[in-house]
C-alpha cells in the first residue's frame, strides 16, 4: 500500500514538472521577436540576416518547438540545461552555485515558522478567549496585509541604516572570507521577514482547528474523566495537525513565490534572485533551468509534507490514496 501511494505521489510530481517546463518553454517560444536576437543580447538590432541564420544553426532554433522541447527535456534528465545566453557558462553550474543558498534560506525560515506557529496556535486555540488568542487572530490578519518586501524595507531602514546592527544585502560582507558568523548575520533579516510575514497565518489556522477540536465529544469525555491538561492538549494537537499540514502544503507554492521577492530585495544570491535577473536580462536558458529547479523544490517539499501527513494521519494510511 505504502509503495503504491508513494509511486502515485511521485507520478503527480513528475506531471507537475512536465507541465511547468512545457508551459514555460512554450511561453518563451511565443516571445515576440527573433529567438536568435535574445541570444545575442543588447545590440540585437545590429544582427544581419546571415548572422541570425548562423545563430539559428548553432542553437538549432529552426526546428519546430515540440522537437526542441523534447530534446531539451531529454538533456535536462541528464543534467544538461544548456548555456546561459548572457554568461556563456553552463546553466547547471550557475544553478549549483545558487541553489544551496536558497535551500538554507527556505529551510531555516520554514523550520522557524513551524517551530513558532505550532505552540502559538495551540496555546491560542486552547484558551479561546484569552489575550493570546485575540492577539493571534488579529495580528495574523494585520501581518498578512503587509507586503513582505515592504516589511523588509522597513527592517533594512531600522536595523541597517538607523541602528547599523545588521547587513542590508548580500550573502557575506565584501572582502570577508565568508565565516559562519558573517553568513548568519546576512541571513537574519531575510529569514525574519519570511518568518514574520508567514507565522501568523499558520498559527491562526492551527488555532482555528484546535478550537474546533476542543468542542468535540472526546475532549469533553477526557475532561470529565479528569485526564490531565497536557495529555488532552497532546490529543487535540495530534488531530489538529493533519489539517495544519495540508494547509501548509497548500500554501507552500506561494511561500516559494514570496521567497523569490525577498531574495531579490536582499540581493540574496539564490534561485529567486537568479530568476528575476534572468527575466530582466531575457536569459531564457537560465530562466528555463531556474523554473525547472524551482518546480523540483516545490514538488519535493510537497512530497515531504505528504509523507508527514501520511505518518500523522492514520485515515489516509488506511485509504491509501487521496
Amino acid at each position: 500500500m505504502t509503495v503504491k501511494w508513494m509511486i502515485k505521489r511521485m507520478m503527480m510530481g513528475i506531471v507537475v514538472l512536465i507541465v511547468v517546463s512545457f508551459f514555460s518553454f512554450w511561453m518563451l517560444d511565443q516571445a515576440p521577436g527573433n529567438l536568435a536576437a535574445s541570444y545575442y543580447g543588447g545590440n540585437a538590432q545590429t544582427l544581419n540576416a546571415s548572422e541570425i541564420e548562423r545563430i539559428n544553426e548553432t542553437f538549432d532554433l529552426n526546428r519546430p518547438m515540440m522537437e526542441r522541447y523534447f530534446s531539451w527535456l531529454q538533456e535536462a534528465t541528464q543534467k544538461n540545461l544548456g548555456y546561459s545566453s548572457k554568461e556563456g557558462r553552463p546553466v547547471v553550474d550557475i544553478l549549483s552555485e545558487k541553489v544551496p543558498n536558497t535551500i538554507v534560506l527556505v529551510a531555516v525560515s520554514l523550520l522557524l515558522i513551524i517551530a513558532l506557529s505550532i505552540p502559538l496556535g495551540l496555546k491560542a486555540g486552547m484558551k479561546k478567549d484569552s489575550i493570546l488568542s485575540k492577539l493571534v487572530s488579529n495580528l495574523s490578519i494585520i501581518m498578512s496585509s503587509i507586503p513582505a518586501f515592504w516589511l523588509g524595507l522597513v527592517l533594512i531602514w531600522l536595523f541597517s541604516l538607523q541602528l547599523g546592527l545588521l547587513p542590508s544585502s548580500g550573502m557575506k560582507s565584501i572582502g570577508s572570507d565568508g565565516s559562519l558568523l558573517d553568513r548568519l548575520t546576512h541571513l537574519v533579516l531575510p529569514v525574519t521577514v519570511l518568518v514574520v510575514s508567514h507565522v501568523g497565518l499558520y498559527a491562526r489556522f492551527l488555532q482555528e482547528s484546535v478550537i474546533v477540536e476542543n468542542t468535540k465529544y472526546y475532549v469533553l469525555v477526557m475532561n470529565a474523566n479528569g485526564v490531565d491538561k497536557k495529555t488532552i492538549e497532546r490529543g487535540i494537537l495530534k488531530n489538529a495537525l493533519s489539517p495544519y499540514i495540508s494547509y501548509f502544503a497548500m500554501t507552500l507554492p506561494s511561500f516559494f513565490g514570496g521567497s523569490v521577492i525577498i531574495e531579490s530585495l536582499f540581493s540574496f544570491g539564490g534561485l529567486g534572485q537568479l530568476l528575476v535577473k534572468a527575466v530582466s536580462s531575457k536569459d531564457f536558458p537560465v530562466l528555463m533551468g531556474g523554473v525547472l529547479t524551482m518546480g523540483i523544490f516545490v514538488v519535493v517539499t510537497l512530497f515531504i509534507a505528504d509523507c508527514i501527513l501520511y505518518i500523522v494521519n492514520p485515515q489516509i494510511r488506511k485509504e491509501g490514496v487521496r
Binding site: V16, F23, M27, I146, W157, L275, A278, V291
Partner: protein, 267 residues
C-alpha cells in the same frame, strides 16, 4: 467594535480610497509625472504634504494617481479570474463524471505551480503593458474560485429544488443561472475578495522588482521601486506612505473577508 460596525468601517474606507483615486485628476494640485529638479527629496511640508521623490515629483499626487493603476489592475484581474473560475468550475461541477475528475486533477497540478513562476516567464516578454499584467494575474488566480464553484454546483445539483426543476423540464441554462449560480455566488464572494487583495500584492511586488507595470506609469508598486535607494538617502517618506496605503487597503479587504467568514460560522 461589533462585527457589523467593523465591516461598515472597512467598506467606507475602501469606498473613500476608490472615490479619491477615481477623481484623482481633479483632486491633485500637481501633475504626477512633472519633475521639478529644484525640489528633489523634499521632506513632507506645507506645499508637498507627503514630500517629493528623487525627481522632485509630488508623492501625494503620485500616490493618488497611482491608486488608479493599481486598483484597475487588481479589479479587472479579479473579475477575469472570477469569470474563468466560474466557467471552469461550473462546467466541472455541472457535468460531473470523468470530465470533472480530469478537470479537477488539472487544477490540482496548477495549484502546485507557484504562480510567480508563470508570472515571471510571461513578464519576460510581455513587459511594458498594464493589460498583460491584468491578464497574467487573472490567469493565475482562478483555481480556488473554480474549486469552490464546483463544490457548490455538485452540492446544489443534489438538492431537491434543482432535481424538481429538472423534472419539470426547466431548460438547463435556466437551472444553471437561476438555481446553481445564484446560490453559489455567496460562497465565492470571500474567495474573490481575497483574490482582490492578492492581486494588489502581485502588482505591488512585481512593480517593486521592476518587472511589473512599466516604470513611467505611477502605481503603488512602482513608487516603491526606488524606495530602497530612497531609504538609504534618508527619504523615508517616499517608501512609507505608499506602503501604509497598501497595508490599510489590503487590511480593510481582509477584515471584511474574515468577518464574513466568521458571520457564516465556517472556516
Amino acid at each position: 467594535m461589533s462585527t457589523h460596525k467593523k465591516q461598515m468601517f472597512c467598506w467606507s474606507f475602501l469606498l473613500v480610497v476608490f472615490l479619491v483615486t477615481l477623481f484623482s485628476s481633479y483632486l491633485t494640485p500637481y501633475d504626477a509625472n512633472t519633475m521639478n529638479m529644484s525640489e528633489v527629496y523634499e521632506s513632507p511640508n506645507g506645499s508637498h504634504l507627503f514630500g517629493t521623490d528623487h525627481l522632485g515629483r509630488d508623492v501625494l499626487t503620485r500616490l493618488i494617481q497611482g491608486g488608479k493603476v493599481t486598483l484597475t489592475v487588481a479589479t479587472v484581474a479579479t473579475i477575469l479570474s472570477f469569470i474563468i473560475g466560474l466557467i471552469y468550475g461550473g462546467i466541472s461541477g455541472y457535468l460531473g463524471g470523468v470530465l470533472d475528475t480530469v478537470m479537477m486533477r488539472i487544477v490540482e497540478v496548477l495549484l502546485t505551480i507557484p504562480s510567480i513562476l508563470i508570472i515571471l516567464v510571461c513578464q519576460a516578454f510581455m513587459q511594458g503593458n498594464i493589460w498583460s499584467m491584468i491578464l497574467i494575474i487573472g490567469l493565475t488566480s482562478w483555481y480556488t474560485t473554480a474549486r469552490m464553484i464546483r463544490t457548490e454546483f455538485l452540492k446544489l445539483n443534489q438538492m431537491e429544488f434543482v432535481q424538481m426543476a429538472k423534472m419539470i423540464g426547466t431548460p438547463s441554462w435556466k437551472i444553471i443561472l437561476d438555481h446553481l449560480l445564484r446560490n453559489s455566488i455567496q460562497a465565492v464572494f470571500v474567495v474573490t475578495l481575497f483574490n482582490f487583495a492578492g492581486a494588489i500584492f502581485v502588482e505591488v511586488s512585481l512593480s517593486f522588482l521592476g518587472i511589473g507595470v512599466p516604470p513611467a506609469v505611477p502605481s503603488w508598486g512602482n513608487m516603491l521601486y526606488h524606495a530602497q535607494s530612497d531609504f538609504i538617502a534618508g527619504a523615508w517618506w517616499i517608501g512609507l506612505f505608499p506602503g501604509l496605503l497598501i497595508i490599510f487597503t489590503v487590511l480593510a479587504i481582509n477584515m471584511i473577508g474574515s468577518s464574513s467568514i466568521k458571520a457564516k460560522g465556517g472556516q
